[in-house]
Amino acid sequence: MQRIIRRFLLSIKEYILLVLLLIISLSFLSANDNQQVKNLKTFAFGNFAFINSVSSGLANIFSNTDQLIRLKKQNAELMLMVNKLREYGLENNELKNLLDYKKETAHPVIPAVIVSKLVSNVQGNFIINVGRADSVSLGMPVINELGLIGIITDASDNFSVVRTLRSSRLSLAVVDQRSNVSGILDWNGSSLILKNIPTTYDVKIGDRIITSEFSTIFPPSIPVGIVTDKETNISGLLNNVTVEPYVDINSLRNVFVMKVIQSKQIKNLELNLIK
């Protein structure tokens, strides 16, 4: 009997191995938020990114100039300022009195260069050449002169991982700048979608979408994209709104990390989700 069982197990050993390895892979998937796994990941990408940065530097030897980076940094800061002013302009009539209580916030930015990219429509992320040594922390937003790119999810001493808008694992609270309609923006594999917006809500094609004040991971008023399409679902009660991001994430090279982290207290409320 034992021999028969042993023979049977030997005949299917490839399948047993496959199932075992797939189970281990799935367990790792669910353990990504585990601190030990995070430490291992930070150690690995932190060291390997050094090799990538050399290779990436060689690939871009003719295109990388200090002046270009400085100008892009200036552009990014101006973009944030312009957007803030636009926001104030729209709110001016309704919130004249409240504006006096609002604190002016300046967001310093840290210039960074992308050293490696994981080209995938599933988990868009890349590694940049700034890390904890440059005061980068987890949760800091990453932008360029056009708008929001993503968020820092891992940081070693000299390198950080950025999870981009094109990641199925990033959801963000956004608002229509014109009508103040709020929603949660998700990447569905092909486009950014604001799901389940009631058809009675005022969202028009061409509206600017910015990060919301409800967001616990991004500061408010960072431009995200523009409404390009509205699709009503079968019930006719809800719309799925397609948003075209301002930033072309595939062609990025220089980015900026905003030195700001949202309040931990608000974060605990989990209004905004990094899955």
Partner: protein, 160 residues
């Protein structure tokens, strides 16, 4: 014996660097060739299915770690790719499988399986369009990976 185990990992390092630094420049939108799956398939055709499954698992794990991606996703996909490539293993036809057009066909099949598994894992439960998943997220990356194999194949056949 030891070379059999360490050679793929040694080859993996420069391939991973190229995958993360050079390949983004030649990607068409989000469609890019997968160099890691080429290593997995090649060594599976040399050493068999069990070896290939374990190699896919190991290289997938290393790639997840080094790319800063979600640990487990490439592991899962490349384990399946290695296992699938194992079905084409034939110790009497190793040369034919690795140095002819057959190699290209095997790469295509395994790259599609790899991309499909990778995408399904990330989008399970999101109600993604199956046709989009099959075509844009699986077949197109598979085709691109296959195109990259041609110069490698020509290099390998000329070497002999």
């Amino acid at each position: 014996m030891q070379l059999k185990h360490f050679l793929p990992i040694l080859i993996f390092i420069p391939f991973a660097v190229i995958q993360l630094t050079i390949i983004p420049f030649v990607s068409i939108g989000h469609i890019s060739p997968d160099l890691i799956v080429i290593i997995v398939v090649y060594f599976t055709l040399l050493y068999g299915q069990i070896y290939g499954t374990l190699l896919g698992f190991t290289l997938g794990f290393l790639f997840d770690l080094l790319s800063g991606g979600l640990i487990g996703s490439a592991m899962f996909a490349k384990t399946l790719a290695g296992f699938s490539a194992g079905y084409f293993y034939n110790e009497n036809k190793i040369d034919q499988n690795t140095k002819s057009i057959t190699f290209v066909v095997i790469i295509f099949v395994c790259a599609v399986i790899d991309s499909l598994a990778y995408s399904v894992l990330a989008y399970s439960g999101t109600g993604m369009d199956v046709l989009y998943l099959m075509f844009e997220l699986s077949i197109l990356p598979g085709v691109y990976t296959t195109l990259v194999v041609f110069p490698i194949l020509i290099f390998m056949t000329k070497k002999v």
